[in-house]
């Protein structure tokens, strides 16, 4: 069953008039014949049960958190530190004994007296203790709401502590109220990493004779980045740094030596990708390792960028051998999945990426959306100049970078770059909407009310989002696949990941449990309306 404008209107009529006007701009039904605009990255309506988080969550929770040899101190009352403690499933292996601190939650645990008299002294004591307990390679300080309000100068505390302890200590003013979602926190974290870590290393170039790359915006949820790295290494790439899944200060500081930056999650890391281009002359390539065909496309695009016939041949060889291995495994799962429909609502890139994997399995995505993306993630980067900045986005200043005197080096000639741009998504991202079929629903910042309504209207076979909406959907009789933490499964990236995903999905479809449940709308329609044929 498809949704038309009329049904959509009827659904939104249940909102107060003002809310309806607002939400309508965040929802569209794809139509390639029209130029479609979606509103995104604007303030959430109070009282709407949104899935969005805050700037702290985006900064500490998403971008910085996975860096394993750094201790991340939460400066604030205990809650925020607790809630972001190991909740993202970004895996990391310990290289140097004792230099993996991901399992620790370190907080200044501010009390009422700290709010009244200021928390700077306590923060600097906590830094001293952190250095003596953990001996980390670096420290980040992550501010929570009250810190900015009471005027703690965490930047000054960090500078002083840096002098005292002789290691990099960075302060991030990512108070929860900044911006409109996690997205503000990503930007703050990007600026800090670029400003204070990347380029700090002494390496001037990557290993000789290797294709040296960074993977940006890959957080190693459930081991995704390990599967990607496996394939890369098989082909012969050298991975300098992953930002930030299983990443480390030690690798990150030399990220400037890469010849190409791969961008997985465009939303959370595009700032660094752009700055690396400006400062060191390294272009970035939009990649997608979610899905078999998109992994293949990505590998071919990478080979094309380097343009070396040996690499191109090796890439094809690896693709064939991987396919030979996974195709027989996928076969039975495809039979189970074929013809089904899915909702795909995730943070800032997976709402797009997973559609490719669903397609590989013969599953149609009928509704997709992002929690905290911007318009360019939907419509492509070409529209960035059209986006009007507002007070919320101006609060997070852009970091101005200039070409590095010594290290700026054009990785490929401008002519070749222009030519390649026509063939591959080089320093460009075309967004989610152009890749979706017509008549599909795109929703920005989907909330609980709309989740229920869209389910009644479109009746998907699988709902993929996170834990906050998972249980509503399951109570409605529809299986859910969490795409934030993979329901403690994974990896889902790359070739083997596709098999894992197909297997997990098939389990949901085939589980006898669901046979005991018949959703009510399979018997009686819940939405009333007539279907008029012949009208667009």
């Amino acid at each position: 069953m498809a949704l038309d404008e009329k049904n959509l209107e009827a659904m939104l009529d249940q909102y107060p008039a003002k809310v309806k006007r607002n939400r309508k701009k965040h929802i569209l039904i794809t139509n390639s014949k029209e130029e479609q605009i979606i509103e995104a990255n604007t303030r959430t309506i109070p009282g709407i049960i949104t899935n969005r988080g805050c700037a702290y969550a985006g900064c500490k929770g998403v971008v910085l958190g996975p860096l394993k040899d750094i201790v991340h101190i939460t400066h604030g009352p205990i809650g925020c530190g607790y809630y972001s403690w190991l909740t993202r499933r970004n895996k990391a292996k310990t290289e140097e004994p004792g230099k993996n601190f991901l399992t620790y939650c370190v907080s200044t645990d501010m009390q009422e007296s700290d709010i009244v008299f200021g928390g700077e002294k306590k923060l600097s004591k906590v830094i001293d203790e952190t250095v003596s307990i953990f001996k980390p390679n670096a420290i980040t300080i992550n501010a929570t709401c009250p810190v900015g309000l009471i005027g703690d100068d965490i930047q000054a505390v960090a500078k002083e502590a840096e002098k005292k302890h002789g290691i990099t200590i960075m302060a991030f003013s990512c108070e929860g109220y900044k911006g409109v979602s996690q997205s503000a926190g990503h930007h703050i974290a990007n600026n800090g990493l670029m400003d204070q870590i990347i380029g700090d290393g002494e390496l001037e170039e990557g290993p000789k004779g290797k294709y040296c790359i960074n993977i940006l915006g890959e957080y190693n949820i459930g081991g995704d980045s390990w599967e990607i790295e496996r394939i890369m290494k098989k082909i012969g790439y050298h991975i300098q740094a992953v930002m930030s899944g299983d990443g480390s200060y030690e690798e990150l500081k030399n990220a400037h030596v890469a010849d190409l930056n791969l961008v997985m999650c465009h939303r959370s890391i595009n700032y660094i990708a752009e700055m690396l281009d400006k400062k060191y002359g390294t272009p970035w390539l939009k990649v997608n390792f979610i899905g078999v065909q998109s992994t293949i496309n990505t590998l071919r695009n990478m080979a094309l960028y380097f343009g070396d016939q040996k690499l191109i041949d090796k890439t094809e060889e690896v693709i064939s051998s991987e396919l030979a291995k996974i195709e027989p495994q996928l076969e039975s799962y495809k039979k189970i999945c074929a013809g089904k429909t899915a909702f795909c609502f995730v943070g800032g890139s997976r709402g797009h990426h997973y559609q490719a994997l669903y397609q590989d399995l013969g599953i149609e995505t009928t509704l997709a959306g992002y929690e905290f993306a911007h318009r360019d993630d939907y419509e492509g980067r070409d529209i960035i100049s059209e986006i009007k900045g507002d007070a919320d986005s101006r609060n997070i200043p852009d970091l101005e970078v200039t070409p590095d005197d010594k290290r700026f080096r054009l990785k490929i000639s401008p002519e070749r770059l222009e030519k390649l741009k026509e063939q591959i998504p080089l320093s460009n991202y075309k967004g989610m909407i152009p890749e979706m079929k017509d008549g599909r629903v795109v929703v920005d910042d989907l909330n609980h009310f709309e989740t229920e309504e869209f389910i009644k209207a479109l009746n998907p076979d699988i709902f993929s989002s996170g834990i906050k909406d998972k249980y509503i959907v399951q109570k409605m009789g529809i299986p859910s696949k969490q795409l934030h933490n993979y329901d403690y499964s994974g990896p889902y990236a790359g070739f083997n990941g596709a098999v894992n995903f197909a297997k997990d999905l098939s389990m949901s479809f085939e589980s006898p449990t669901w046979n005991f449940i018949i959703p009510p709308w399979r018997e009686t329609p819940l939405l009333e309306g007539s279907i008029e044929e012949g009208e667009a």
Partner: protein, 462 residues
């Protein structure tokens, strides 16, 4: 000496508690047709929903006023009013709770003022909006829970005429525990008002049509009538008076207050039932006597295994006290009794039971870990965060309390009453046994076999 070193630290490394607003959400989930809004950054509400949903495996709808930078300068009144508006439109609740956050408290929001202004503007006379001050830096989630219960009572309770009901006020138990307490009350033929009753709302049966909020939970009318009760039984021996809803009912309306432990353990359950018996004049029925007998039998069956147990118990003070009592009754020696809360009461209560245990308040898991290893603890009892003790020190964990997010069924864990205690004790005993069997052969091998063999091997070479 070592304890003092731990206490002098500023850093909280792996916290043993959450913030006040988190605890404040739960009681509102135990009232009929209720919704709750958190006044602050939307991250607070999102983070807490995530954690509560993972424990209960249920949808947890909590609104947010989504304050942003502008709100921090001009105040968040408009945002909060909009939030209430939208919640009413979509959920049509009979009662709304508004909890504050670090942000709202630091900028000094007058939530009472905003709420009453809102009700006046909209001419809503029958919608209680209950505000609770729950700054993250104020206290832990345990106190946040009690603060919310108390505000609910103080806002709603109105004295009318003398009734015959007993008020039962409970801490954050599992829905299964609440159902068991209700069964005990039924068997004892007690007329009661249990607050907050989230036994159905946070452990909802699968139903044919999904409802956003339901009529399950404590009835608002019943809360209004709490001052008419003959007595209040409050399972809150560790709570401070300023957080005590039962104390309020006693001081304000003269309802006698009986602060009792959670009925976990033989004696604690005896206390609860005999109190009910005393209040109603009814005998404990034969069925419950049988259950008691079975618990006793279970305690005898497992006492030899339990005697080998040394425990670390941590979590919310009220639960910690009850579990400590059960351990002491069964010879599972408590070596560490810890809570993230600031409370002197827990130590006072625990000392006579197990004076040589280390009593930690404002504890984090690093301090719990260091004393647990020193004291050779072989079973930990508490929420999922204690898995850290298993991972780092091999101390097995019996999951108990909130949150349980690495196992399924936290909402179904039954630990109260004679039956619940039997099941809880079995979980602890079996964990000790599992640990023993896993290591038994190795230990025996090393003790009686491996060492001599090493010696004989060494002889020919020397």
């Amino acid at each position: 000496m070592e304890k003092e070193i731990i206490y002098s630290r500023n850093v909280n490394e792996n916290p043993c508690n959450m913030c006040m607003a988190m605890g404040g959400i739960i009681p509102f989930k135990g009232i009929e047709e209720s919704m709750v809004i958190i006044h602050g950054s939307q991250g607070c509400s999102t983070y807490m929903r995530r954690h509560i949903a993972e424990h209960f495996n249920e949808p947890i709808d909590v609104g947010s006023s989504s304050l942003n930078e502008k709100g921090t300068i001009y105040g968040g009144g408009d945002n909060l009013k909009k939030a209430i508006d939208n919640i009413i439109k979509v959920y049509n609740p009979a009662i709304i709770g508004v909890l504050t956050t670090c942000l709202a408290e630091t900028i000094g929001e007058d939530i009472d003022g905003i709420a009453s202004e809102y009700l006046k503007e909209k001419e809503l006379n029958n919608l209680p909006i209950i505000t609770v001050s729950t700054p993250g830096y104020g206290n832990t989630h345990a106190e946040g829970y009690w603060a919310a219960v108390k505000r609910i009572v103080t806002n709603l309770a109105i004295k009318k005429e003398k009734g015959s009901k007993v008020n039962i006020i409970i801490p954050q138990l599992s829905p299964a525990d609440i159902r068991e307490i209700k069964r005990l009350l039924q068997l004892m033929e007690v007329q009661y008002t249990l607050l907050p009753d989230f036994s159905d709302t946070l452990d909802r049966p699968f139903e044919r049509s999904y409802k956003k909020i339901t009529k399950d939970g404590t009835k608002i009318k019943d809360i209004v009538e709490m001052p008419d009760a003959v007595a209040t039984i409050q399972m809150g021996v560790t709570i401070e008076e300023n957080y005590s809803p039962g104390k309020y009912l006693e001081d304000e309306f003269g309802v006698p207050l009986y602060n009792t432990p959670i009925p976990i353990g033989l004696e604690n359950t005896d206390v609860f039932l005999s109190l009910l018996s005393q209040l109603t004049g009814k005998e404990v029925p034969e069925a419950l006597k049988q259950e008691r007998g079975r618990l006793l039998d279970c305690m005898i069956d497992s006492h030899k295994y339990n005697a080998q147990g040394t425990s670390a118990i941590f979590g919310e003070p009220e639960l910690v006290f009850a579990a400590t009592k059960m351990c002491c009754e069964n010879g599972i020696k408590p070596a560490v009794v810890a809570t993230g809360s600031k409370t002197a009461k827990l130590a006072e209560l625990v000392k006579p039971l197990c004076g040589d245990a280390s009593l930690l308040d404002e504890a984090d898991f690093v301090s719990i870990r260091s004393i647990s290893t020193e004291m050779k603890v072989n079973v930990a009892i508490g929420n999922s965060d204690g898995k850290y003790l298993t991972e780092k020190e091999g101390i097995p964990l019996v999951r108990f309390g909130f949150p349980i997010h690495d196992r399924i069924g936290g909402q179904r864990l039954l630990s109260v009453g004679y039956i619940g205690t039997t099941m809880f004790l079995d979980r602890v005993t079996n964990t000790l046994l599992e640990n023993k069997y896993n290591n038994y052969r190795k230990e025996m091998y090393q003790k009686f076999y491996w060492e001599p063999k090493k010696k004989t091997l060494a002889v020919p070479g020397s």
